[in-house]
């Protein structure tokens, strides 16, 4: 185990059971992410990319293997320890509709905030180029919505940002803007999934996922 790694998957297995049939989703997945790097998991639809994000975000438990964050084992954490770790160390951005619809951009950013520091929230929104903090998600473009989600994911100074197909709903221009913002984050490790090979130009490491295994 590399003690400097931010996130480590050690022989992780995950399967689903449906109608009495067991389907392997992840098979012996092992990798570790170095600090301050952008990492891409590339693979076709259904290859298990989203499952890796859920496991890394501690929103699911592996059926076998271990997931470590900052070197600490996470399998045996209880509900409260798990949610505290998520809040303090992990930021997550989904493909779309990441925001709470009845909260403004700044309220969304401040929602998970531990320090309740409004000034910090405003600075983060400025950093991701959002000018009007008081717009509701319905008034934001897809690009701005993803930017607000990025600002929210950074609000507790996490060690790792997990993004599941963050640019799938964006056009090429918006994709570039969003990826440039991610690229500028120099104190956080990013793990993103995508079937868009163009994103590999932004990544320090690319993992190819095929039929649940890293090749």
């Amino acid at each position: 185990m590399n003690i400097n790694s931010i996130l480590t998957f050690e022989g992780v297995y995950k399967y689903y059971e449906k109608g009495g049939l067991i389907k392997d989703v992840l098979i012996d997945v092992t990798f570790s992410l170095e600090p301050d790097t952008i990492n891409l998991i590339n693979g076709p639809s259904g290859s298990g990319k989203t499952t890796i994000i859920y496991l890394a975000a501690l929103l699911k438990k592996p059926d076998a293997g271990e997931i470590r964050i900052l070197g600490n084992k996470t399998n045996s954490l209880n509900e409260k320890e798990r949610s505290n770790l998520i809040r303090e160390q992990i930021g997550i951005i989904y493909q779309r509709s990441n925001l709470i619809p009845n909260l403004t951009a700044i309220e969304n950013v401040m929602l998970p905030m531990i320090s309740r520091d409004k000034e910090k929230a405003q600075k983060l929104l400025e950093k991701v180029e959002i000018k009007d903090f008081h717009r509701f998600p319905v008034d934001l473009s897809f690009e701005d919505e993803q930017k607000v989600a990025l600002a929210r994911s950074l609000v507790n100074d996490p060690s790792i940002i997990l993004t599941d197909e963050p640019t799938a709903e964006l056009n090429s221009n918006s994709t570039k803007i969003f990826m440039d913002l991610l690229d500028k984050l120099d104190t956080v490790t990013v793990l993103m999934t995508s079937d868009n090979k163009l994103l590999s130009e932004y990544s320090d490491h690319t993992f190819e996922l095929k039929e649940g295994a890293i090749r």
Partner: protein
């Protein structure tokens, strides 16, 4: 904005549905206040008259006016002629007292049912509200809120609906009682609104609402994130 202030914010959503829940509770509390107050008014007359010894509206009582005595006599004659009975004045009054005491119980029972019917809608409203918010629950879990926090937040929303509804109900109830007692109540009948009934109605409605919000809140707090994220807004 924190997880426990979200319920206040959520009241602005599904306005028609929430308004309908609030109005149902308000109506239930309004009926509760009127019926319980009427019951207490009737009870006070029975108690003031010495209870169960036929002294209510008894024409031997020092306070009874000649006019009231005539009313009692006329009513007694009418009932005797109608049912072919031969009640004495005392017997009639004892039966009347018994009827009034039973009426108070019936009024209290009806009041409880009215309140319960009004508040029961909370479960329905919360069920719909929360089932539309599964994706949001998934997001809350993804950004580090645990089941307990989500459960408390959703339950608080039900409690808030109950509190606001009962507050409106109490205001309307007090106005209605004042209106009835001023313009409609006959002279010898009173409607008593004890002070304890006002906070009592608010507290009971809020507690029942919180209780009824428990199941929908538990249901959504248990939802898995991957399931929640498949839902649309």
């Amino acid at each position: 904005m924190g997880i426990y202030t979200l319920p206040l914010n959520n009241l602005r959503r599904n306005r028609l549905r929430n308004l309908s829940a609030v109005l149902r509770i308000a109506f239930g509390v309004l009926i509760l206040l009127i019926l319980v107050s009427s019951g207490l008014g009737i009870n006070s007359i029975v108690e003031k008259s010495g209870t169960s010894n036929g002294k209510i509206l008894d024409n031997s009582s020092a306070n009874t006016t000649t006019n009231e005595t005539n009313i009692v006599n006329t009513a007694m004659d009418y009932l005797n002629s109608m049912f072919g009975s031969n009640f004495s004045e005392n017997q009639l009054v004892i039966r009347l007292e018994g009827f009034l005491v039973n009426l108070v119980y019936i009024l209290d029972g009806l009041a409880s049912i009215a309140l319960l019917v009004g508040v029961l809608g909370i479960m329905n409203t919360m069920g719909f509200n929360l089932s539309e918010r599964k994706r949001e629950i998934g997001i809350l879990k993804s950004i580090g809120f645990n089941k307990k926090q989500i459960f408390i937040s959703c339950t608080l929303e039900a409690g808030l609906l109950g509190f606001i509804g009962s507050l409106i109900g109490v205001i309307l109830g007090v106005l209605a009682i004042w209106f009835i007692s001023t313009f409609f109540a006959p002279g010898f009948l009173t409607i008593l609104l004890p002070l304890w009934l006002i906070p009592g109605a608010i507290i009971i409605s809020t507690i029942i609402s919180l209780g009824l919000g428990l199941y929908p809140a538990w249901f959504v707090s248990e939802i898995k994130v991957e399931e929640a994220m498949l839902c649309e807004y």
